[in-house]
């Protein structure tokens, strides 16, 4: 029977059911994606509430919050938290300063500036682990070119990632090399999209360039700055590849950030419970930070939106 020959009441009923189902059908793909994300997440939460070591299957069992409670008195955990936050904070701030500086230098649309901005993106296309290995060679005490320059500058016994004094600096250097172009390109796009009228008015009034930067450019650019900072912060606090490839978290525990600690706990110690608990804590930190950033970003966006 075709729709055209259906009695009117029946046809209306079918249409009503279809309309009722439609929203659910439309949201089905999103629901499926959600399930794909939530199952591993809740599996990790489940594991984090257990005493679960692969090497001691007979000892597996729920210990509920014990893994988390243990962190309170675990000096290694607090060290990991401190290093992770320090690493994330320093890399984001330094990369923002450098990225903004480069973006300002390249703001004017010229052929040369466009070419330079494309070339500066090259580090971003390098796998971070590869960049770390490259820097490991460049800082080698026997033949590393960076080590050579350090010697020329009078740093005779620079030990780079091998020394607790300079290990953090060295991995931050690699992070900056890889990710500053990311910030630069975001801020450059922001700078080039700013309206010209406020700058023209300021120029007519004879406002110095430095004042223009602090009073006009930076406030208007702030949503872009926050977006770039948010992306980098989320990534930096979850840093793994650069640190693992360079020092495996050493020397000592100097670079034992969350991901490295969790990785070693799982793959080396086969301590699934502790590893999962560490990653859930990392997730919570990331979640809180993103919320703060997004709220600020929305507030700024509202403030900088033209009246209308």
């Amino acid at each position: 029977m075709t729709a055209a020959t259906d009695p009117p009441g029946q046809r209306r009923k079918g249409v009503t059911i279809s309309r009722k189902l439609l929203p659910y059908l439309l949201s089905m793909p999103a629901l499926l994606v959600c399930i794909g994300i939530l199952i591993p997440f809740f599996t990790a939460v489940w594991y984090s509430l257990q005493h679960y070591r692969l090497s001691q299957p007979w000892n597996r069992g729920m210990n509920w919050g014990e893994n988390y409670l243990n962190f309170l008195t675990d000096a290694d955990f607090w060290n990991t938290l401190q290093i992770s936050l320090l690493y994330a904070g320093l890399t984001v701030v330094l990369e923002l300063i450098l990225g903004l500086g480069i973006a300002l230098l390249l703001q004017k649309r010229t052929r040369m500036n466009n070419l330079i901005s494309i070339m500066l993106l090259m580090p971003l296309m390098t796998a971070p682990a590869l960049a770390a290995l490259m820097f490991k060679l460049m800082t080698n005490s026997n033949f590393g070119i960076l080590n050579y320059f350090a010697q020329v500058l009078g740093f005779e016994n620079m030990r780079w990632a091998s020394s607790p004094d300079t290990a953090l600096l060295t991995v931050i250097l690699v992070d900056i090399w890889v990710y500053t172009p990311f910030i630069m390109i975001l801020l450059l796009a922001g700078l080039r999209s700013l309206p010209t009228q406020p700058f023209e008015a300021a120029a007519l009034d004879g406002v110095p360039r430095i004042q223009q930067f602090w009073r006009i450019t930076l406030p208007m650019l702030m949503p872009y700055v926050l977006t770039a900072a948010l992306f980098r912060l989320l990534d930096s606090i979850q840093q793994f590849d650069i640190i693992y490839a360079m020092t495996q978290g050493g020397p000592g525990d100097n670079l034992m950030v969350f991901q490295v600690e969790a990785y070693l706990n799982f793959f080396q110690s086969t301590n699934v419970g502790r590893s999962a608990a560490l990653l859930i804590i990392l997730w919570a930190i990331t979640f809180v930070l993103s919320n703060i950033f997004i709220k600020n970003w929305l507030r700024l966006r509202e403030r900088t939106r033209p009246e209308g």
Binding site: S55, S141, N157, S162, P164, M246, G250, G252, Q268
Partner: protein, 480 residues
């Protein structure tokens, strides 16, 4: 094959002449050494087939998970003989060492039946065994219907063989009567001295024979040669920093990692007076004459620095020195080897060992077929082929070490290597206490050492802190 060659090979198979004489005789008949060796190996394969039904799994296939290594290369080079002998198919995945054990852990912990057998280290089986991921191979080794009569299990060097067997009890002695054979030794590494003869000569130093002499010699070698450091040892934040030279020397003084009480509880022993003394010397040696970037040094940097002429000596895996003395290494042909007993009162070296081994996955779908491969790959014929034709060094079988051709080859190109092995082999075994927290505790030991070398913590204090942490982890796991 011509009649004369056939006759010679037949005579060899009957035991009428030894391998070296056979290869020489074939050479006299115009056959190249490599062709002769392959011919001999093929004949050995045929001889294998005489007393055992190698074809019982013909048509089946096994899949291997392998680490990128010269031992793997040697096996692959000889694999056609296995296929011909058994009628079986062998497939394999090879991964670089950096990611290899992650791949093994992922495959086994997920219960995957993809791989029937895989390469492993003996230490790893302290995790895999109790977790129920690998088979106890005693079941096959002792079954005459499944193992060929010429396999000769007892031919494996005793300390090496026993180091691959553990009863699963924390602190249980390796190789005890109730031990399970979690893996089969394939190739192994002792830890001794490899040194650059030219650098030692230039600095006017004799080969050191104990730890105090080593510390002194390393400092002199560094001072007497431009742009090098005295002694190469591992330093990365990994359990692998502890197991080579460090633990070999440590054990030579009678020091242990853990002690076990009468009620079977384990406790840290790293902060004993003897241990503190040893650590203090070791730390000073690295501070004075170690690599400037010691804390990032893995086996790779230790080896390549020796091969590149950046270090005068290494106290590490002997095969690092072996490989650095050949190929296109800058120092090829300039290295020599010596057994090393760190304790001046010790009668012989007691090297801790790393054993590349073969294990069978519990999740293998055809374990008997997998055992066919394992017994061939760890058998005397393949061992001899690998040792004489490839770089399958160090072999784990006494019979291979007794082979005159192998000894001559080593002695002519690797001065002191055979003597080093012979002197050290009786004392060579795993010196760690077998227990499931091995990787946690030993990695923490390495991290502590890094702090001591960096001067972040004094040796005494660092070891007390380490012992406290180890004891607390042992207690938490119900082992202490």
């Amino acid at each position: 094959m011509y009649e004369k060659e056939k006759g010679l090979v037949e005579a060899y198979r009957r035991g009428g002449m030894n391998r070296r004489t056979l290869v020489k005789s074939l050479g006299a008949l115009g056959m190249s050494a490599s062709t002769a060796a392959i011919l001999v190996n093929a004949s050995a394969t045929k001889a294998l087939a005489a007393d055992f039904d190698w074809k019982q799994h013909s048509g089946k296939s096994v899949k291997l998970l392998l680490n990128q290594h010269p031992y793997t290369d040697a096996m692959i080079a000889n694999l056609d003989n296995f296929k011909e002998l058994t009628g079986m198919e062998v497939t394999y995945d090879v991964f670089p060492e950096d990611v290899y054990f992650d791949k093994v852990t992922a495959a086994l912990s997920s219960g995957s039946s993809e791989y029937d057998a895989f390469m492993t280290g003996a230490y790893m089986t302290w995790t895999y065994g109790p977790a129920g991921w690998v088979e106890d191979l005693n079941e096959w080794i002792t079954d005459a219907s499944k193992t060929n009569p010429s396999y000769n299990w007892e031919d494996m060097i005793e300390g090496v063989r026993k180091s691959c067997a553990w009863n699963g009890q924390p602190g249980g002695a390796l190789g005890s009567d109730d031990a399970k054979q979690w893996c089969i030794p394939w190739g192994y590494e002792q830890n001794n001295l490899a040194y650059n003869t030219a650098m030692m000569e230039k600095a006017g130093i004799d080969v050191p024979t104990n730890l105090d002499e080593l510390i002194e010699a390393a400092a002199k070698a560094q001072a007497g040669n431009d742009g090098i450091y005295g002694i190469g040892v591992r330093g990365s934040r990994s359990w692998a920093t502890i197991h080579p030279g460090f633990l070999s020397g440590y054990a030579n003084f009678g020091e242990v990692d853990l002690t076990m009480s009468d009620d079977g509880k384990l406790a840290a022993a790293m902060n004993s007076a003897g241990s503190k003394d040893f650590h203090a010397k070791w730390v000073k040696m690295i501070q004075d004459s170690g690599a400037p970037d010691w804390s990032t040094h893995t086996w790779y940097q230790v080896g390549t620095d020796l091969g590149a002429g950046k270090s005068a000596m290494i106290y590490d895996a002997d095969i690092l020195g072996y490989f650095m003395n050949g190929g296109d290494n800058a120092m090829a042909g300039q290295l020599a080897y010596a057994p090393f007993a760190a304790n001046p009162d010790a009668s012989a070296p007691t090297p801790n060992i790393w054993i590349w081994s073969l294990a069978m996955s519990k999740f293998s779908r055809d374990k008997d077929a997998a055992w066919h491969f394992l017994q061939w790959a760890s058998g005397p014929e393949h061992g001899l082929f690998g040792a004489t034709q490839m770089d399958f060094v160090n072999p784990v079988r006494e019979s291979v070490w007794a082979d005159a051709g192998f000894r001559d080859r080593l002695s002519s190109t690797y001065p002191g290597y055979v003597d080093m092995h012979d002197v050290s082999a009786p004392g060579a075994s795993i010196k760690f206490t077998a227990q499931p927290l091995f990787f946690d505790l030993t990695t923490e030991w390495a991290a502590s050492m890094q702090k001591m070398v960096a001067g972040e913590v004094p040796v005494d204090e660092g070891l007390d802190q380490l012992a406290d942490s180890v004891n607390s982890q042992l207690k938490e796991a119900g082992l202490g």
